[in-house]
Symmetry: C2
Subunit: 389 residues, 2 copies
């Protein structure tokens, strides 16, 4: 979506009689505002105030980088602060990685559908997209290479959201993750692992990050081809804009130079506050969100089951923020949205926005993070009624 | 300078026996930490907490944009919030404007010397540089155009710091500003006005922004060719990373799309806090800084006069942070820095880093923002002694 479309969506959210499943945003009532406020106070009221308000190095606040290296270690990625680069949210990581890898005409492999913001970030570097099938059925490496060459470029990376993907909610199992690495190895390309939703698992056990599997087969992070993009946005606060990349040192060094030229560094104070808050309440906050969002996911799935007519299917995500609906062939979700907003006062995101080739017209994304009882209890039947006509 | 070199400079600053005139940074003891801390507390303790920690629109926090439009109005630039775009410091503005205008091989006009960070931002887009002489003596428009065409591109913009420039400290008078607009008009190119130091004037009256002169001759901001880059970094805090662009609406709209793809938006909370702080203490903070920095500039200029041997000249800035020294021909400032750090324990920035063509080897930049009595009283004589040998 363009800024103008996001603005329209935000306007919808402000209308009390619109029930919105559109925005892929956390519930602001669950932000740990008190803990964050206390941390700003502690940082600005103490000896760190000068450093918090001053310029700092482009790679980011060292104690935060060390803490993140420790967290990555717990996920099976042995690394140190030299492998951690702080970004202004993971959107910036995607922009920088696009800039680093893509020349006009190069090929990026993405799933059909994929995260819209990744397409927007990469589009600035004028790539061609080819389809990555994480459930199997990929082209041969030769065929990917030939298609890229026919466009005058090379395949540069595969981008994916392996956990509770935006927009589908799907999660790759360990075998599918290994298969992505197999393909990337044969193509000798990077893998961009977007882990924005990773911590938000409501059922089952976590799968290893692709980066962890990569380290195991390549002999350590500095030999890995996977670039892991993490974010505090879904857990602590998107408005503070703090994310990170965990990657081989030689990639981090290039990203640091890029950041120095593009915005010097992410805000010092926000990094220092995020470090304090994460160190003290990260795990508790994850538990709190899981408790709240799991209920909302369950309620949405139940309402879909109880109300949706035959011919409509949807994903059953183990975590994250999204349920992905597939409508009967021929039903255009963009047209449906216009009718839905007008007649049912229910909003969602039409799925074709998430397809690099503009297909997927009979799909749509529903977010359950803001779906309270009223939203689910009234909104889903109203949408279902529209679909039954 | 590269990140590694900045790290080295920062390390120097940490050594208590090194007197550094190198860093172009504000004095952290002058940051309004209390007022900023109070504003974070007020925002996070009240009804705005959710919005402060949430995603927001890419163009920036509306009340801050309105306040900035009012400030621009006081400088003679009649505009509204549609002409204001919030950036993560003015470095990001330079990056985006480079991305917006430059294709590889295009020409950017810059002064010799110019702000190093601007060269770093623009370099990512692979331009050629040609020389802008703000004191007169420019080439004809035809000659600029021919030189650009010979390189396979076009002249796209002129970039300059018209007030207390980094690194020279020089300020353009109104006639020189008009001359820049004349040349830009003849070339039909944009003017990027970097106003980072504008508020820090220690003597005399402020000159009108180039953008104000442009509005007067073009018939209003939306017809202007000048893009004004402002920043809170030198007055309130660089660590919060809040800057702005004031520009025609059609340029702001393009920058908004660029920002959405590259980092979504600057931190919501920092924009809200900056708005509160700016609204209440901006003018008082400017007065406080002027009082402190004027004394340090005067002390540095006096010490240079009292100590420097013949054959060395320097700028006498009316504001800003920098004095620019020109050494006798043949004296290489990079070599001098190595000797100075070793023998005199005094640091500065060699001037050639600021030249797009790598010349200027016998120049150097001294910052006086951190130059307390000891720094000036001991550092300048020690450097002068080295130069006398």
């Amino acid at each position: 979506m363009k800024a103008s479309e996001i603005r329209e969506l935000l306007k919808l959210l402000d209308q009390p009689d619109i029930i919105s499943f559109a925005g892929g945003i956390p519930d602001p009532s669950l932000f740990p505002a008190q803990a964050i406020g206390d941390a700003y106070q502690a940082v600005l009221g103490g000896a760190e105030a000068g450093a918090a308000l001053q310029y700092q190095v482009s790679e980011g606040f060292l104690p935060l980088r060390k803490w993140l290296a420790g967290q990555m270690g717990k996920l099976g990625v042995a690394c140190d602060e030299g492998n951690i680069f702080i970004t202004s949210g993971s959107q910036q990581a995607l922009d920088y990685l696009g800039k680093l890898f893509l020349s006009p005409g190069d090929t990026a492999l993405v799933t059909w559908p994929t995260y819209l913001g990744a397409l927007q970030a990469f589009n600035a570097y004028e790539p061609r997209y080819d389809r990555l099938n994480t459930a199997g059925g990929n082209m041969t490496p030769e065929a990917y290479r030939a298609a890229a060459a026919a466009n005058g470029g090379r395949v540069k990376f595969a981008y994916l959201v392996p956990d509770f993907a935006n927009p589908t909610g799907n999660t790759l199992d360990a075998g599918q993750r290994e298969a992505v690495l197999d393909l990337a190895g044969e193509l000798d390309i990077a893998v961009i692992e977007d882990a924005a939703y990773r911590a938000l698992r409501y059922d089952g056990e976590g799968e290893p990050p692709i980066l962890a599997l990569d380290c195991a087969r390549s002999g350590g992070i500095d030999k890995a081809r996977t670039l892991y993009c993490g974010s505090f946005s879904k857990i602590l606060s998107p408005g503070m804009r703090v994310g990170w990349v965990c990657a081989p040192r030689h990639v981090v060094e290039k990203l640091v130079l890029m950041k120095q030229a593009s915005d010097l560094h992410s805000p010092s104070i926000n990094q220092m506050v995020m470090h304090r808050v994460a160190e003290t309440i990260f795990d508790a906050q994850v538990e709190k969100l899981i408790g709240a969002y799991r209920k909302r996911r369950d309620a949405l799935l139940s309402a879909l089951k109880a109300n949706m007519p035959d011919g409509i299917s949807w994903s059953r995500p183990d975590g994250g923020m999204f349920v992905w609906l597939t409508l009967p062939e021929g039903v255009d979700a963009t047209e449906l949205l216009a009718r839905s907003v007008k007649e049912a006062r229910v909003a969602f995101v039409p799925g074709n926005a998430f397809y690099a080739d503009g297909t997927g017209r009979s799909t749509l994304r529903m977010s359950f993070t803001l779906a309270d009882d009223r939203a689910v209890g009234e909104g889903v039947p109203r949408l279902a009624k529209l679909l039954r006509r």
